[in-house]
Symmetry: C2
Subunit: 398 residues, 2 copies
């Protein structure tokens, strides 16, 4: 047990403190030199540490050997399975992104087809990044909808047929490592805290504006999933304006679900020349055009965006009133930093709140969900690397 503790402390010091000599490392962990030497030998043996290439000598005799954490000893894969596309990010054990890939998905295709497309995208991603599948120590995927603790999608209004899919289990067939599944807005929240606008905040609401607009919350710096994984779903109340947000942007009106569906269907039939990406894919392109036009100052498009912001503001405010967070980060496919939708949301949310909450635009663009998935996978790997009750797993490629 003591050995396990020393090993975990040394590994952490090496990973977080950077390249070190034996003496530096022993001092940092508070162990004797001989003990540190033994622990280090074991870490090298397990493939988690290595001697660094010698630095150019100063001419004053042989420099002390330096050791480093082998971030390349394993990898984490984050998958963002959105309605109409899949985005992938691979990172090493230090969290540095080493590759990525994205591919289109047919939102109307049956779950089996979507899963096959995700698997093909994973294969492509790993090949392009030159990462061996056996080097993956954990995989995490984000999806719209409510995800139960066992990784089943228990509710999803965005992707037809997706509800009930045992996503963690289905994806698990492709990997020999643990596979986690989480709601996309929750992962966006994790990413904002890791590398985004919420790095310094503990209590945060993250808005993920897309087909529907979902939200994720961090409380005390940790993701608040809720008892059944459904926290943040105030958009279920239609009067709060978070449903069909993309459709509302396309139709340019405060459409109910039926009107939105009808408008989307009209788009689909109008775009018969792109049958593969039909319906919602086309809708998203059109949403982009509306946002672009608003950005250029087109009066009609601006008005549509303002109306959407006014509608969404009530839903975001409901979440802010429920939690009274220090800050709200607004991101997702409908949002670009500094654009009209964000400034309109900021202007309209603030007066609905009781507290002077900061409202910031995400800077992670459409990488938020994938990055959050990487962070979730890395946390899972850390759990194994630093757990004290049994021998940590050794990366299979080490």
């Amino acid at each position: 047990m003591l050995r396990r503790l020393n090993s975990a402390a040394t590994l952490r010091a090496l990973r977080d403190g950077g390249e070190s000599t034996l003496t530096e490392l022993a001092g940092r962990v508070g162990l004797s030199r001989p003990t540190t030497e033994g622990v280090l030998a074991e870490l090298i043996d397990r493939g988690l540490a290595a001697e660094s290439a010698p630095r150019p000598g100063t001419g004053l005799g042989r420099p002390a050997r330096r050791y480093r954490f082998r971030a390349e000893a394993g990898h984490a894969l984050g998958i963002d399975i959105d309605a109409h596309r899949v985005g992938l990010i691979v990172a090493d054990l230090a969290g540095d992104v080493v590759g990525g890939h994205r591919a289109g998905l047919d939102v109307q295709g049956p779950p089996g087809e979507r899963l096959a497309a995700v698997r093909a995208a994973v294969k492509k991603c790993l090949a392009v990044a030159d990462v061996d599948r056996r080097s993956l120590l954990a995989v995490a995927a984000g999806t719209p909808g409510v995800v139960a603790p066992d990784g089943t999608v228990t509710s999803c209004t965005v992707v037809p047929g997706w509800e009930g899919v045992r996503l963690a289990r289905e994806l698990g067939r492709s990997f020999s490592c643990p596979v986690l599944v989480e709601n996309d807005a929750n992962l966006a929240a994790v990413a904002e805290r890791w590398r985004g606008a919420a790095r310094d905040a503990d209590d945060v609401v993250c808005v993920h504006a897309g087909l529907h607009t979902g939200m994720g919350a961090l409380i005390g710096g940790r993701l608040h999933r809720g008892r059944w994984g459904a926290a943040g779903e105030v958009g279920m109340l239609p009067e709060l304006g978070l449903r069909d947000t993309t459709a509302a942007l396309i139709t340019g009106m405060d459409a109910g679900p039926e009107a939105a569906a009808a408008a989307l269907a009209a788009f689909a039939s109008a775009e018969v020349d792109s049958p593969g990406s039909a319906l919602r894919g086309a809708g998203v392109d059109h949403a982009d055009r509306v946002l672009d036009a608003a950005g250029w100052g087109a009066a009609e498009a601006k008005e549509v965006v303002e109306r959407l912001a006014s509608r969404m503001a009530r839903g975001v405010a409901a979440m802010a009133l429920a939690l009274d967070p220090e800050m709200i980060v607004v991101g997702g496919p409908l949002v670009r930093a500094g654009d009209l939708l964000v400034s309109e949301l900021r202007r309209r949310i603030a007066p609905l709140c009781l507290s002077p909450v900061r409202i910031e635009a995400s800077e992670l663009a459409d990488e938020a969900v994938g990055l959050g998935a990487v962070r979730l996978a890395l946390d899972r790997i850390d759990e194994d690397l630093f757990r004290l009750d049994r021998r940590p797993p050794t990366p299979s490629d080490a």
Copy 2:
């Protein structure tokens, strides 16, 4: 420091483990008998422990001395300052209630008048309970509205003129011990977890149905106050049906704030024979009559209650969707266990939620806020008793 640690551990063992012999206590804390004896002498000296009265002997020689925690060494006072009445509860250091008192408040009176009435009620309460004011080690008060961390009421729509009152400071003038102030719904949540329906739950939303309906949330077993103390205030969005809930019950309709105010004013002028308790006091009596009539089965009253439940359900569901708690406890002046309002709320909230959340009626009746205040005060006292960085305070009457 070690002595402080031993002292805190021994005090806790004595308080939570009950009357003990020296040997039992030493065993429980894991200290030697001589060390325990020294610590015990110090605790007796500080008035926090005492030798128990000897038990009837078994005839086999002199029984071992037994020691107990002196729960009477100090007291906690909980104050529930509602719109039209103040309720007080005094408890000893074991949390056992030793007295209480309640008195009416004029909701239209200026803050100074309300504060004077609260002070008079405190005096009466302590006299009736035969508790010396100097024996109070902490006081906590609950109030409608948002309470800043410094105990100022920063927002309050229920009591005219109450906004901006530095309540902790004002009340503090009457006591030499710490005085805390907290939102009433938050205290109700604390009470439900301490002695109410949420004893076994960690993630809980507590609904406090009154003039307006407020909510408090426990996350991971702890009160979630939010950054500015305003968490749970989704009722600020009028479409969520939590504003003027008592007025809605009185007017029997889905009244907006203006209609509700007009209806209340009409009541006030109709009840000219009770000018002191006018307006809202009278309204609350009338609300009770509606609830009673609904309980007896009066069709019109039942319909009014059902309509109110349908209105409130959206606000409670918004909070439940935001947090996805394990359970919702419904309490407050408008609620009695097992009554129609609760069953109607249960029936209407469930279908709006994504998760199978338990919805229970409070069993604490109108003591929830006062009991929560007592618990908050006791937590404050524990902080002092068990803090390790300086000598804990000695009760002044010990």
